[in-house]
Amino acid sequence: MIERPPNVADLLINWARENSLWPMFFGLSCCFVEEAVTFTARYDMARFGAEVLRPSPRQADLLITAGTIFKKIAPVILRLYEQMAEPRWVISMGSCSNSGGMFDAYAVVQGINQILPVDVYIPGCPPRPESVLESLVTLQKKIRAKERPSRAIFNLAGGTQGTTGPVLVDEVTKSRDPRGPGMEGIPIRGTAATPPEFWQNRSELMWAPPANRIVFTLAENELAHALTGRFGAAVRPEPHPADMPSFEVDRERVTDVLRFLKHEAAPRFRRLEDLTAVDESARQDRRGRPDYTLVYHLTAYDPPTRLRLKVPLHGADPVAPSATGIWPSAGWYEREAYDLMGVRFEGHPDLRRILMPDEWQGHPLRKGTPGRATEMAPYTLADARRNQPRDAALTARGTDGRERLILNVGPHHVSTHGLIRYIVTLEGEEIVGMDIDIGYHHRCQEKIGERQTWHQFIPYTNRVDYLAGSCNDMSYVMAVETLAGIKVPERAQVIRVLLCELFRLSNHLVWFSTYAHDLGAMAPNFYAFREREMIMDIVELITGGRLHPAWFRLGGVAADLPEGWKQAVDDFVRIFPKALDEYETLTRHNPIFKARSRGVGRLSLEDAIDWGVTGPNLRACGLEWDLRKAFPYSMYDQFDFEIPTATAGDCYARYLVRVEEMRQSLKIIRQAAANMPSGRYVSDQYRYVIPERADMLKDIESLIHHFINVTRGMKMPPGDAYAASEVPRGEQGYYVVSDGLGHPYRLRIRGPGFANVQTVPRIAAGETIADLISIFGSLDYILPDIDR
């Protein structure tokens, strides 16, 4: 069909429309951070005729979907699109939104174009802010060149306006081949690299030295004696753990053992660090193995000690006793184990799905269930219409059969800082009950870990907490290095510290500006992002990436520091303290800010410990506990810094702790830059690490290791290890289980947000709905780290 040329009315209407686009953001994940940066000072989106991004569909005609489209959230996106004014346009931002990107995973829709028509795609993972501006210009060009709105405007037949592109149907009008389009004629060779279907596994032919072995301290030995003395054969110490004392406990006695460890043991293990399950059915050697293993990690504060309990479970649908009576925080952990692994917990007050939508069939983390979206039925427009989020009335708390207002805050709400849904029951303004619906951001990271080689998983770690960048890598590489016993050179350790602290600053700056924004102050947003961009520039100079550097490697980092890094860091360190003081005067002495945060959202220290709260939120309750000091890693014990604490436990205390943490981070950065050790940037244990390029080009041994490690991946000794690091939001832990293959057998992520957000109903009960926003902001959580 030949387009007729535009008439004067077309030109006029198009001119008006293209210069007054009203974008609405649908921020799903990492991409949204870059989208949000687009309207801050450096990029200033308003120059392009598209003013401040709107959160509501009523005021918008351009939808920008930024991030991963989850099956649980797709119906919401569709609804908001349909609620927008017409004509309307859609920009799809980032690889995930375009095609599923690197998340070819069971809970992810492989492209927004399966449910919405799309005008402009922005490639990248995540795209830079400049590309958002470019996409706007591209859309303006498209409106100018392709649209003929006058006939429709004057109620005549014909004409074109808004998005006209078809909604694609997976497998029919779009390729769903994981290798990309154009491969249809070629059959897929081999099998997926995930047991139990994985055959011709080369790792079996390789040799690896045994896993790391620790020597118990005196206190740990005494603890082991106390446990075996009290519970006899029901508690069996593991012979050679790689990271911490580990015990196998009978299912019948586990509640008693947990209670003993929490209340009577020396030291007292007061925190349930993590609770998860492992499906043992796909082990290479099934002899002597149960069907499932339940894994508890416990933490003692004084002295800092960790401990692991493993509970063997048998049967196709295993049952275990609930630990909710001992730690209230077990509530969500057990629901997750039930949802993803199908382990039932007897005595759990509210055992139902937590991450997956209600209509989901099966338990995705079990071995043998499909991990890829492309192995499952295509997600269609009809699915998005049918599978609505659960009606709030079904889970609302505190109604007591009376007529009360049930309000959904989220999943798409400005103040929820991501896709999370609080179902709030209100008596007037006061919150009398709350249920939290999570899982709108479940990116299946743990399942993906089982199909990536040990190195290949590193790009995924960055996306677990997308505002903390390299800090995520730290926890993962530490866990794997602990298991394999890899020694990291000093220079690499300090480079890691430098990067982590830069990201801590960058994260806290985003938190600072968004929290001020939540409480009604717009200006800090524009200021704080100026310095954050400076940090991003340094990160880009060093790593080449912005949000997701993926720059740590097992045994070190990807490359040495580039020329000019010190100058850039020094410049930043020089100007930042003054800038921070300046921003702080905007808030700290502001009467509105104080009234909205002081005495609001109080959390007691006992509650914080019981609920497994970590990070600045815990320190704001008065406990001086920071993994960088408690379990020093990566040479943090060589740095001079303090742990800021506060005692009130309210929003203002959390604010004070974070702001002081920024100053301490700066101190660490200054020291790291001044005393950067010389030497290698990556370990020379080439069995496990990717060799330095110069070596790889020079000698055959390194070349072979390089080839093996980047293709099929190195063999990891069988065993398991847990390591946690202090990321900006709290303690993020990785529990890796190796079955002696080239990829993890099970990879478990303990996100700080999961435990921190579980306390919100407790913090918020009895507060007003307006203070709820202040509480969200002060907790500083992020969704990919809660739902993973």
């Binding site: 109620n155 109080r602 203070d771």
Partner: protein, 136 residues
């Protein structure tokens, strides 16, 4: 001093008033024209989703028309009561000298009565309308 104009100031032919009238008429015509144009040109494509209330992207639960506790309402009523009674005190203050000691005595009694009422309301918790967490 210039002499007064022969024409009355309200004459419609007085230049300032005439231009104002023309301006008003133009504004009205412009407004009507805009409304009419957008009514004619604007497309209406109502759908179930567009008419639905926006509640963070999910289907709202229950009705928004429910018995809604308004604790502030009580405070407002108390304010109104005391405010009106304030009017008596003002009127007494104006006639303070004329009314003499007798008036002073009567008004003192009235004020004491008011204060007693305020204390009663305070004690009963009629003024506490914040969330329970703050009350604790």
């Amino acid at each position: 001093m210039h002499p007064l104009s022969a024409t009355p100031w309200y004459s419609p032919w007085e230049s300032g008033l005439f231009s104002l009238a023309v301006f008003t008429a133009m504004v009205l015509v412009f407004i009507v024209a805009m409304l009419a144009a957008s009514a004619w040109v604007g497309q209406r494509r109502p759908s179930q989703e567009k008419t639905r209330a926006y509640e963070s992207g999910v289907i709202p639960t229950g009705s928004a028309r429910l018995k809604y506790p308004v604790p502030f309402y009580l405070v407002a009523i108390f304010f109104l009561l005391f405010d009106i009674e304030g009017a008596f005190i003002f009127s007494w203050a104006v006639a303070f000298r004329e009314l003499g000691w007798e008036g002073w005595l009567q008004m003192s009694f009235f004020i004491v009565l008011l204060l007693a009422g305020l204390a009663y309301v305070w004690k009963k918790g009629g003024l506490a309308w914040g969330p329970t967490r703050k009350k604790a």
